[in-house]
């Protein structure tokens, strides 16, 4: 290796501001698609409660979207939306739908029938029942979907670097640039940071879930 170290720590030390900037970008490309994807999935899941017949078609469509190779999606949207945020956000949002929709529907369906009946019999209105009974009880499965979709999206964001410019890709830009300039330090830096981000976000979401479901631990405690 020409006496050069495999990882150039000095370079990394000199580019910390670059790391912070890419982190911000990566987080933006995580949060916007996740929020949009959850909003769409949630509305579709409520529709599924009212009209169970919609579950099949919606699952099929979100499943089809999920199978589109991300490289192809970015390449196709690039000429349409140019270098606007849409080019990255639309595919990333689409990829969250299958997981988020399926888990949200499963969460609502996991509410035991006797809970429905008790709520109905005591005079809950449909709306109050959804917000106060069904939604809280669906939280564990919904959060499982959010965790999985988040980790997947963090990985996919790195591929968005292919769209070009230095607007997209977050830590993925380190990887693409590293490849183009045969500079392994950047490739490893991009890869490792992406993985660390995924673990961190997942851990934070676990904490959020715990805060939202104190009752679930009570169940575990009884054993």
């Amino acid at each position: 290796m020409n006496g050069k170290p495999f990882i150039d720590w000095t370079w990394i030390g000199n580019h910390l501001d670059d790391v912070v900037e890419k982190l911000g970008q990566h987080l933006m490309l995580l949060v916007i698609p996740m929020v949009a994807g959850f909003a769409i999935s949630f509305v579709l899941a409520i529709l599924a409660l009212r009209r169970p017949g919609t579950v099949g078609p919606v699952t099929l469509v979100t499943g089809l979207l999920y199978t589109i190779p991300s490289l192809a999606a970015f390449a196709v949207l690039r000429p349409i939306f140019g270098l606007s945020l849409w080019t990255a956000v639309i595919p990333l949002t689409a990829y969250t739908l299958l997981i988020l929709y399926r888990n949200t529907v499963a969460g609502f369906r996991a509410v035991p029938p006797e809970i429905h009946e008790a709520a109905l019999g005591m005079g809950y209105t449909a709306r109050t029942r959804l917000l106060r009974v069904e939604l809280p009880l669906a939280v564990p499965l919904i959060m499982a979907g959010i965790r999985l979709a988040s980790v997947t999206t963090i990985g996919l964001v790195t591929i968005a670097a292919v769209i070009g410019a230095d607007k997209f890709g977050g830590f993925g830009q380190f990887i693409t640039e590293g490849q183009q300039t045969s500079f392994p330090t950047k490739i490893y830096l991009g890869g490792v940071l992406s993985v660390v981000l995924a673990f961190t976000v997942d851990a934070l979401l676990v904490l959020v879930e715990r805060a939202l479901t104190p009752w679930a631990r009570a169940r575990a405690a009884r054993g």
Partner: protein, 404 residues
């Protein structure tokens, strides 16, 4: 105990039917109901009992309109339930189901306060009411209020279910196999607690069960239903046991209905016999003479407080000196006036004796219960129950000691 004014409503089924189309039946719709007409007086427990598919649960759920009747009307205090806002109607009817359906994500206190919360009571009043009700059903509020349902036993959860149904002091309660999911010992205790509660609350209660013993125990009136949604018989538990209206009812109540009738009545109902007694410290000679005059095989030894200590065979009365406590056979069975005749006879059989010693709450002797007196009394009672078919309640014998 409860600072609200208790009220109960009459419930009337007026030619109520529910039928299902064949498609719904294939999906496992509950039993149909055919032309049910029934008057339930305010403050009474009406038990709907029958095999599965007889329409008992359907009948119950038509009252709070979880199921809408195909035809006919259900009147609560004379008002057609169909004309009322369904949400408001349900908030005014207590509802307890076998699976309980406590909300796992809410604390016990929040669960109990469900209907008050829906009704928009102030928070402090909700909490106070939840604590009051937990106390009523025998759960210490300080201990249980902040727990979650998953941390409770089956019996405790069922108590919370009853407390939740009572929260807004509804005039009518619907209970669908409420004690069906707990083991027999807990069920017996919950039934007894509930009957005691009902003595104070006097709600109008529709109670569904498939268990004839539970129906007999819980009901002021019993409606035996038959597959297809027909009423086979309506009557007091005593009437149904003494005089089943059809072969179906006779089979449903079981061949042991004579024994079941025994559990409807308490020792207090039966005239008690007199015992030849001997007080501790009394001269043995005097006792011997008294026993001989009465031609008694045995005398009952009492202590200074007139509490029976046990039997003493006439032949074993000492020739001289005084009667001592040690002379009495301590194994003689004692029963109080609340003991059911079924339990009383069972004690006599177990102990192989002719007479049971009946004591009052303080342990003082009230008299003797014999197998013969029970049989004579039951024969008379049977002719009373079947004589004119009137609807007088079977008088599940209140405790006479309570009246004192």
């Amino acid at each position: 105990m409860v600072d609200t004014v208790h009220h109960a409503a009459t419930v009337d089924f007026d030619h109520v039917s529910k039928s299902y189309d064949p498609a719904a039946l294939k999906k496992g719709a509950p039993g149909a109901v055919q032309d049910l007409t029934l008057h339930i007086p305010a403050g009474k427990v009406c038990v709907l009992v029958g095999p599965s598919g007889c329409g008992k649960t359907t009948s119950l759920k038509m009252v709070n309109r979880l199921i809408e009747p195909t035809s006919g009307r259900i009147l609560l205090d004379g008002v057609d339930a169909a004309t009322r806002d369904v949400t408001e109607l349900r908030r005014g009817i207590g509802y307890v189901i076998q699976q309980i359906g406590l909300f796992p994500h809410q604390s016990i206190g929040e669960n109990v306060a469900t209907v008050p919360r829906l009704l928009g009571w102030p928070r402090a009043r909700q909490q106070a009411r939840a604590e009051e009700l937990l106390t009523i059903v025998g759960l210490d509020p300080a201990k249980y209020r902040d727990r979650y349902p998953a941390q409770l036993s089956g019996g405790e959860r069922q108590r919370v279910g009853v407390a939740r149904a009572l929260a807004a002091d509804p005039p009518v309660m619907l209970m669908d196999e409420p004690f069906g999911a707990v083991d027999p010992i807990v069920r017996d205790r919950l039934q007894n607690e509930f009957l005691r509660l009902q003595e104070d609350l006097a709600k109008t209660i529709l109670f569904v069960t498939h268990d004839i013993d539970e129906a007999i125990k819980m009901g002021d009136m019993v409606v035996v239903m038959q597959t297809g949604g027909h009423v086979a018989q309506v009557g007091t538990p005593a009437e149904i046991l003494a005089d089943p209206a059809s072969e179906f009812v006779a089979r449903f109540v079981g061949a042991d209905r004579g024994l079941k009738r025994l559990s409807l009545y308490r020792v207090a109902s039966v005239p008690l016999g007199e015992a030849v007694t001997a007080a501790v410290g009394e001269e043995a000679i005097a006792v011997r003479v008294r026993a001989a005059e009465a031609q008694a095989r045995e005398v009952l030894v009492l202590d200074a407080e007139e509490r029976p200590l046990g039997w003493l065979m006439t032949g074993d009365i000492p020739g001289e000196g005084a009667i001592a406590a040690a002379h009495a056979d301590p194994s003689s069975p004692q029963m109080d006036r609340r003991t059911t005749l079924k339990d009383a006879l069972s004690m006599l059989l177990d102990q192989d004796v002719q007479s049971g010693i009946v004591v009052d709450r303080t342990g003082r002797l009230r008299g003797l219960l014999t197998v013969g007196s029970v049989m004579d009394w039951m024969r008379d009672e049977r002719s009373r129950a079947t004589a004119d078919g009137d609807n007088t309640p079977p008088a599940p014998a209140p405790d006479p000691d309570d009246e004192a």
